[in-house]
Symmetry: C2
DNA sequence: CAGATCATGTAACTGGTTACATGATTCA
DNA sequence: TGAATCATGTAACCAGTTACATGATCTG
């Protein structure tokens, strides 16, 4: 899947500028693209050309004009068709596992340092993804996937499930690396 | 990380032709590239140019010559340096989660069909990845990450951990989708 | 005054995918 | 005889990343 459907989905939820989208991508765990300008602005042009989104240019006095995009009826239809399409398996690229395959050449201390560093990083992500399960501060504009911004109870269930999936992913990874460190340290001393 | 280190690692383990590599990539769960020719043959040329692998051309009577590659001393040094490098977080692309974010427009039955199909696919992967934890048939050439092919006990521990990571990944995913289906069906009927 | 924020975009590159191309051999 | 396997490669394309480019405004 390309970033286009993610953008189309967001624009079906509320109207947003390229800059808004960029921030949403940067903040969200679930939207795993970097949110770089190139891709977002090109995707918006493309969606526009295909008639899936509309633009409204809002001139501002002192800042560059905001181009605010929203999904059109055709865009919503296209999105609905896509959501019904056959699910793909998630793809996971896990460079550390390839590193570990050949890491037997490393001294035990260095290997454990590597794993400890990894554990730290994963723990950070686990905390962040668990935090997203908590509702945002009252008064704040609901962020993407915050059940408070959902339009129906079922949508809230789905959004919570998405966040739980990410939390489970990092939780499982954290448990794995901790178990591996224990196993390596006990094997060494036995 | 590019596919190059994965190839260099395999060639540090045993000597292989491009065709052998292709098959290993296709068979292995852990080596998540498609194993397409383009990338493998280009990577081999590149590694060769950088002096990290050597080639031996083995002419065959009736088939095209095999070009058998192996890691050189420099290649092994480069690989060792890479294994010691800072670990990266795994990256996961999960299109279904983006689909679900906007799936509230689907009728309940269609949504459950989608999730059921996903559950099936994940279950297949879960079974495959658990199966790789079993030793290969006696007499068969040890496959990549089969502890039987490991060169030291610690390497066997690492290889098992890698396979367990994949099994845990699919196991966690399977539990998640099952729980979600239950939640959606009970919410509907209450 | 420096750094973050608002707001738009472009250029160059990397990594990876799909499909094309060739041709003999082996097996059901 | 048709499909799978052995064995090499090339061409065209797509998605995504990093870095470049501009410039005003707001905040500490």
């Amino acid at each position: 899947m390309s970033i286009e459907y993610a953008i189309l989905g967001l624009l079906s939820w509320r109207e947003l500028s390229g800059y808004d989208l960029k921030k949403i991508f940067e903040e969200s765990v679930a939207l795993y693209w970097t949110g770089n300008n190139n891709e977002i602005y090109r995707a918006l042009v493309d969606l526009r050309e295909r008639g899936l989104v509309s633009v409204e240019v809002q001139p501002q006095e002192k800042l560059p004009a905001r181009k605010v995009y929203a999904a059109t009826a055709e865009g919503r239809a296209e999105l609905a068709a896509w959501t019904a399409s056959a699910p793909q398996l998630p793809q996971r690229r896990h460079a550390l596992l390839i590193q570990l395959a050949w890491a037997d050449a490393l001294p035990a201390g260095q290997l454990d340092n590597l794993l400890a560093e990894y554990e730290d990083e994963v723990q950070t992500q686990a905390i962040i993804s668990r935090a997203q399960l908590q509702p945002a501060a009252a008064g704040a504009r609901a962020r993407f996937l915050d059940p408070a911004g959902a339009r129906t109870p079922r949508e809230a269930v789905l959004w919570r499930a998405i966040l739980e999936n990410w939390a489970a992913f990092y939780g499982s990874e954290l448990a794995w690396v901790r178990a591996l460190r224990v196993e390596l340290s006990t094997a060494r001393s036995s």
